[in-house]
């Protein structure tokens, strides 16, 4: 049976070239970077080199990067760390309703437990946040804006550099150094350049597991001069902002992975966009009552998110799984909370549309044959599940 992995937004396989540079640090070069001997120095040098390499690609200085355990930790450190360290300046935050939960739940925690006020921007029906929306939401006491670069569920690409511009102008007019701008760019690492100057961002999150690098490692870019309060305590590592013995092999692997994906941006995008479009158009053409979630063109080259009316996502996911196609769903049934996707609900869609959503995310290994196999397999499975469903979703939701 074929095995077609279309869940790259969840995680990517490790690039063999990345594994190669990691292996020595999992074997002979096992030293603790804080140790004052040759093995320790070896590990410290490796981290320094990785830091410089990532900084160069981001257009940042090496001392502006913090290594963390994940995208989630970087997001938490950016939001909680910045808000707590700067709450005397103001207690208003701006974010969007379609952020990753690592941002959304951190912000909600600050709102519920620590006396912050939050403005949640609603995306339009296609999943876009506009710079004007951000401009209107800015207040005297706004200290932080966090908007993701590209959405993990529906792939929508936000106008980050324009939003950054709006915030910069606001700061200039007021003659002050806040509010600062954070973006979670985890899903974007393989698809567009991430120069922090050009994006006008002050804090930026990336992680290893979405770029053919290792899991368990993330980076937070923190512009010089920005104060954070650490989440962890107990050591001088990462300037005391992220104590704990460094995941040396992971850091080395992440640097290599970032070089590789950022060096191949254009080629990979040009290869994937036609495959993505073939899948979208194929589904729309062959299956009635479907809806593409997210903007048609302002979306990641690898993201396809479709709601299949009248059926429930988990059931379809499992039927596809049995056919060797690996996807994911915004249906409540696969989430711990039993709530369907907050992102699709935020597009103004009713619960039944969110329950029927399925996400396919393409990657390095995806071929034209894979797409053809999905297009051949999917229609009869959808038809079968529809035939046993009593639901007939109103056509105004998929026209």
């Amino acid at each position: 049976m074929p095995s077609v992995y279309l869940d790259h937004a969840a995680t990517t396989p490790l690039d063999p070239r990345v594994l190669e540079v990691m292996l020595p640090y999992l074997k002979d070069r096992f030293g603790n970077p804080s140790s004052f001997h040759t093995l320790g120095k070896q590990a410290k040098d490796a981290i320094d080199e990785a830091r410089s390499s990532i900084a160069e690609i981001l257009g940042a200085r090496p001392d502006e990067l913090l290594f963390t355990s994940s995208g989630t930790e970087s997001d938490n450190l950016a939001v909680l760390g910045y808000a707590r360290a700067n709450q005397k300046t103001g207690k208003h935050l701006i974010t969007s309703l379609i952020e990753h939960h690592a941002v959304l739940e951190a912000v909600m925690h600050l709102e519920k437990k620590e006396g912050f006020q939050v403005t949640y921007l609603s995306p339009d029906k296609e999943g876009l946040i506009t710079p004007e929306q951000v401009a209107r939401a800015l207040r005297e006491d706004t200290i932080l804006v966090s908007i993701m670069a590209a959405n993990n569920e529906i792939g929508t690409i936000q106008p980050i550099s324009e939003i950054g511009n709006v915030i910069q102008k606001f700061r200039q007019e007021k003659g002050r150094a806040w509010p600062v701008f954070h973006t979670d760019a985890c899903q974007a690492t393989g698809f567009f350049p991430l120069n922090v100057e050009k994006l006008h961002v002050d804090l930026l999150t990336i992680n290893g597991s979405k770029m053919y690098g290792p899991k368990g490692v993330g980076v937070l870019y923190v512009k010089r001069g920005i104060k954070l309060q650490p989440l962890l305590f107990g050591g001088p590592q990462e300037r005391g902002l992220r104590p704990g013995t460094e995941h040396v092999a992971g850091i080395v692997g992440m640097a290599r992975a970032f070089e590789l994906v950022q060096g191949d941006l254009q080629h990979e995008s040009e290869r994937l966009i036609p495959l993505r479009d073939e899948l979208i158009e194929g589904i729309i053409k062959t299956i009635p009552k479907v809806r593409l979630n997210g903007h048609r063109t302002k979306r990641l080259p690898n993201n396809v998110n479709i709601s299949f009316m009248d059926i429930e996502g988990e059931a379809l996911l499992l039927y596809l799984d049995a056919a060797g196609i690996f996807s994911s769903t915004g249906s409540a049934c696969t989430s711990a909370s039993l709530d369907p996707s907050h992102v699709i609900l935020a597009l103004g869609m009713p619960y039944e549309v969110a329950h029927g959503s399925l996400r396919f995310t393409l990657g390095h290994a995806t071929t034209k044959e894979d797409i053809a196999y999905v297009l051949e397999t999917l229609p009869p499975l959808v038809a079968k599940l529809r035939s046993i469903s009593p639901v007939r979703v109103d056509e105004k939701y998929f026209r």
């Binding site: 989630t72 569920e153 059931a315 039993l338 469903s389 009593p390 639901v391």
Partner: protein
Amino acid sequence: MADVSSRDKTQSWFYTDIVKDHFFHPRNFMHEQADETQYNAIGKVGSPACGDELRVWMKVDPTTERITDFHWRTFGCGSAIASTSMASVMVTENGGMTLEQARQLKPQDIMERLGGLPQRKFHCSVLCDKALRDAINDYYRRSGQTDKILVEAFRIIDQVSKVTDHDIEEAVLDGAHTIELVQQKTKVGIGNPSCLPAVEELIRFYKEKYFG
């Protein structure tokens, strides 16, 4: 939900082989071309907003009052489909259950025949017993035996999900002490938020009753 939840073998397939069999090969589902008039009772529970909706069509032999035919359609996840399919087998096998027997069918009985379900799936996806009781009442209504119509022994709190006060009591006993946790277990109010104040009141009541 951190990310869109990913396909994860260990999680998706804590479904047993029997569940998988009924999910991939559902028994007795109602074909689209089927003739609804040959059934003498119908039942319904849930709504797509809650993530599950179930309709059943039942044929009862008027002399024996046994269920001779039972078909269904389900909108829902793997365990919702499998548990409905299994229930349809259980009520019609061995000459069919009598209506009185069928009335006693519990979600636990269906789950047992399926060889178990993930804990998290149990409360929300096993709905067929409710649809079945709805259909039994419908049969008595249509056959003029209105004295046999049983209003649920328990009070229905949410007309959409048909969650009863007893369901909420069980959820609280299971450790769900907030409205969010009770919703995770029962889906009460998800398609019908107007019932939530009543739910909150009940949670308080049962918490005090059992936990002081």
